[in-house]
């Protein structure tokens, strides 16, 4: 695609000069921001929630005029020293595309190709050309086989690709991506990144707003926003080298950066880098020294890893005493065919077939599996929102099947569904949190006690009289979770609790779950994050409605299972995947069961040890007497 002829060669695609913008709530969304985006450039805008990055995206794609400053978009001076030129804005918008978070809100019709055609139709493009554009763009986002499909039946990643095709069909000079992957699973995010890589190759100017640092590598330039100001700017390497500043902003440095930092802390001579390939070759070359197999493997390092060690095999397999079982799922089969018959051919999605598992009281269990594997169905069944067609589920000794038991089950097991913030309804945070305990028929004093304790636990004390709709997105989710915690369930089921949160929000949620776990609450989480799963007591893997495997993280995440897990759309936790790749590159790492590193810290320890051993190896063999006194 050619850059729009309206941009002179060498001129900026987007130019902001001393731009400021505040909302009526006196929040300064943008403060004196100056920014140039060159044609063909791929710019990444990073920042925690509330840093003004979404506002910046709206300004760049011409949907929001700032209060002060000058703005030139695709060669149109839309704003000069605070004076808005509406006609220029209208012209500029025709060459600016936007794709944002929620795919559902961006699709306006119920046929994929009609949706892609919607933008060109609005631009008054000749009908003969529209067909060609629709075909070309659907092909570019690899959705050509879904031209006649109903977008509401597609997965989140597919919907988002249709939205991208819809924006591209308007042949924009600049396309703005405002957290396109925030609501998607790992696979969906990856597919969006592939499309963006292809667009970069085609020379399309891209502005990508995200809080996933891993997504920023491919960019030509990265800027980091903090409270509406540009805090850092430069190439990805330059920006990520400011690790302390990034952490202070609540952003999580990328995996390679974390690992190289940890290795340097352990005295390993590798350069600091955030580039995966560089670090890998550095580690491999440090370890390249000849190895001595006689050196026995010291065990001390593992004690500091903070990882959950496997329970003794015998103990794990022994049948648990009934009172120690929080939830038991026995041969459960379930199908949506009846209840969602009206949804036609989608009737069989997310069913379960013959699933059995046991969740120990007080344990932390992770359910993993790709979209449509039945994880959310299993969560709903455990919470008695549906009942199994065959088999049974017993929660704290109560069978979920009889209708009269449902209320009892709801008291024993709390359910935090996906995006629980969408279920808030009361006038104040306090009333919303009190809803559950009141339904339990508790007296006012007890309701108050529970509500204030729950709000304290999620860190929302002091916000009781605020409307839940005035909270930030992350706080809304915490408020919804407090509403479940106030019911004091012995077990709690969370369906993708961290989806859509920024790193700070994710860390906060992990802290809350950790403290619940420490108080003996049984936690069952449906998750897409293998790293989260690696930190639990039990991992349950579902694939195509069936139980693929269940066990401790050490039993499930093994090099031997890597292929099997990949086949069902999952991966290994990044540290283990890395360890396997390094071993293939010649680094001696013992990855047998019980020793495979599942956390970044454990990987750093294992590598430091392997490297120390490699360094010691030749000396041990040739001049061990000289080194003996060390």
């Amino acid at each position: 695609m050619q850059p729009s002829p309206s941009i002179a060669r060498g001129a900026s695609a987007v130019s902001l000069s001393h731009v400021s913008l505040s909302f009526e709530t006196d929040v300064q969304a943008l403060v004196d921001v100056s920014l140039e985006v060159a044609p063909g450039e791929r710019l990444c805008v990073l920042g925690p929630n509330g840093s003004g990055k979404s506002t910046l995206a709206s300004v760049i794609c011409g949907l929001l005029a700032p209060d002060a400053g000058s703005v030139t978009l695709v060669g149109e001076p839309v704003m000069r020293e605070g004076t808005v030129d509406f006609a220029a804005y209208r012209r500029a918008r025709r060459s600016l595309g936007l794709v944002f978070q929620n795919p559902d809100d961006q699709l306006v019709t119920t046929v994929v190709e009609e949706d892609v055609a919607f933008g060109p139709e609005n631009l008054g493009v000749d009908p003969a050309q529209i067909g060609e554009r629709v075909r070309r763009e659907l092909h570019r986002v690899a959705m050509q086989d879904f031209a006649k499909a109903d977008p509401t039946r597609l997965s989140g990643g597919q919907k988002q690709r249709v939205a991208i095709a819809g924006a591209l069909a308007m042949e924009p000079s600049v396309i703005v991506f405002d957290e396109p992957g925030a609501l998607l699973d790992v696979r969906g995010r990856r597919s969006i990144m592939r499309v963006m890589d292809a667009l970069a190759r085609d020379g399309i100017t891209q502005v990508h707003v995200t809080h996933f640092m891993e997504e920023a590598f491919a960019a030509d330039r990265v800027i980091v926003l903090d409270h509406g100001r540009i805090a850092l700017s430069g190439t990805p390497d330059e920006v990520f080298s400011h690790e302390r500043e990034l952490r202070a902003l609540g952003l999580e440095p990328p995996f390679a950066a974390r690992l190289s930092e940890l290795l340097r802390d352990r005295g390993v001579d590798v350069p600091w880098t955030c580039d995966v390939a560089t670090l890998k070759s550095a580690v491999a070359s440090v370890c390249a020294a000849p190895l001595d197999s006689r050196v026995s493997r010291p065990q001390a390092a593992r004690a500091t890893t903070g990882e959950k060690d496997a329970a003794p095999a015998a103990g794990a397999k022994a049948p648990a005493a009934p009172e120690d079982v929080a939830v038991s799922v026995e041969g459960v089969t379930f199908s949506y065919a009846e209840s969602s018959a009206t949804r036609g051919d989608a009737g069989t999605r997310g069913a379960l077939e013959g699933v059995s598992l046991t969740v120990q009281r007080g344990s932390l269990t992770s359910i993993v599996g790709q979209t449509g594997s039945g994880k959310s169905t299993l969560a709903r069944l455990m919470c008695a929102l549906d009942t199994p067609d065959a088999g049974r589920i017993v929660v704290g000794g109560v069978d979920t099947q009889p209708r009269r038991n449902r209320r009892l089950v709801h008291q024993r097991i709390g359910y935090v569904m996906q995006h629980p913030e969408r279920q808030l309804f009361a006038e104040t945070v306090w009333q919303d949190v009190c809803y559950g305990p009141r339904n339990l028929g508790l007296d006012d004093a007890e309701v108050s006690r529970r509500a204030s304790r729950a709000l304290e636990l999620v860190g929302l004390s002091g916000r009781e009289q605020v409307s839940p709709f005035e909270l930030s997105g992350g706080q809304q989710r915490l408020c919804a979770i407090a509403g479940i915690l106030a019911m004091r369930p012995g077990a709690i089921v969370l369906d993708e609790p961290t989806a859509g949160l920024d790193p700070r929000g994710r860390a906060e949620l992990r802290r809350i779950l950790g403290s619940l776990h420490a108080h003996g609450v049984t936690i069952i989480q449906v998750t897409h994050s293998m790293e989260d799963a690696a930190r639990s007591d039990q991992v349950v893997v579902l694939n195509n409605a069936r139980l693929l495997m269940a066990g401790t993280p050490r039993e499930v995440f093994t090099p031997a299972n890597a292929v099997l897990l990949r086949e069902c759309g999952l991966g290994l936790p990044a540290p283990l995947a890395w360890a396997i790749e390094l071993r293939e590159a010649g680094v001696t790492l013992d990855l047998s069961q019980g020793l495979a590193p599942l956390t970044t810290e454990a990987l750093a320890d294992a590598l430091a040890e392997a490297i120390a051993r490699a360094a010691r190896g030749p000396h041990d063999a040739h001049d061990s007497h000289d080194r003996g006194g060390d």
């Binding site: 709206s58 008054g124 919470c383 209320r407 969408r422």
Partner: protein, 266 residues
């Protein structure tokens, strides 16, 4: 859950009904839907039912799917029909139990009223099954053209109508999620006394309104970003033009109406 609604979802098939010009289709459907109110005799009812069945067969929409989607409405109509059965006192008495008297007139109304409404509902459903929202918008737009020429927002109304159809399944799914969430918090909707149910529905409605407002905000951003500015400068990928088969369809529809009215005079 009865909250799941499939009304108005396009069913992609390659049938002669699908290929009709949406204006002809909407016009014909409206004509059939309005004329069912003239159905008074068994012959008329049989003719209207036969016509609806023929259109259903021609559309290649699976009959089960079509009937399932109109079922909730039809069940309600038959329940209302029961009132006719009990309260209409025309014709011979068939059965008398104390105050309860069932007459031939009551029985006929109890059968005829729901069935003729079924024809109307089915025609409406078939129109939506065989027409994409974009086509429907264009058709409604064309029908509202007189409004637009008077300076009223005819095109915008058509767009709103189409977006409403697009969002029905999304909102229905969300309603289900909200009901589930509240059930899990002990606020069971659809259980207990009528007063209890009415109270329980309040939180659901508020949460649903909040999420709808959220969707509306996102949607307006999307419409702006895609340069939607009303009808003026829009082009159409598949511009509408009436072909021979569309006129034929209208002629068949007109013939149906004439025959139906004629049967009523017999």
């Amino acid at each position: 859950m009865a909250l799941r609604i499939s009304m108005g979802q396009y069913v992609p098939r390659n049938s002669c009904i699908h290929r009709l010009d949406p204006r002809a289709k909407v016009g014909a459907a409206l004509a059939v839907m309005i004329t069912v109110f003239f159905v008074q005799t068994p012959a008329q009812l049989a003719f209207a039912l036969a016509f609806a069945a023929a259109v259903l067969a021609l559309s290649k929409v699976p009959a089960r799917q079509a009937l399932r989607s109109v079922r909730p409405l039809v069940v309600m109509l038959f329940l209302l029909g029961l009132f006719n059965l009990l309260y209409v006192r025309e014709g011979h008495v068939l059965l008398a139990l104390g105050a309860l008297r069932i007459t031939t007139g009551g029985l006929w109304y109890a059968i005829c009223y729901p069935l003729r409404f079924t024809v109307a509902v089915l025609m409406g459903a078939l129109m939506l099954f065989t027409t994409t929202p974009t086509q429907l918008t264009d058709a409604v737009d064309a029908c509202l053209a007189p409004l637009s020429s008077m300076g009223l927002p005819g095109h915008e109304l058509a767009m709103v109508f189409s977006l409403m159809l697009r969002f029905i399944p999304t909102i229905a799914d969300e309603a289900q999620a909200i009901v589930d969430a509240q059930a899990a918090r002990g606020g069971a909707v659809g259980e207990g006394s009528l007063a209890h149910r009415v109270r329980a529905i309040g939180p659901v409605v508020v949460a649903l309104l909040a999420s709808s407002a959220h969707h509306a905000e996102g949607l307006s951003r999307a419409l702006d970003a895609r340069c939607y500015e009303g009808g003026s400068a829009r082009s159409h990928w598949h511009p509408l033009h009436m072909a021979g088969r569309d006129w034929l369809a209208l002629a068949i529809c007109a013939a149906y109406v004439v025959v139906l009215l004629f049967l009523g005079t017999l």
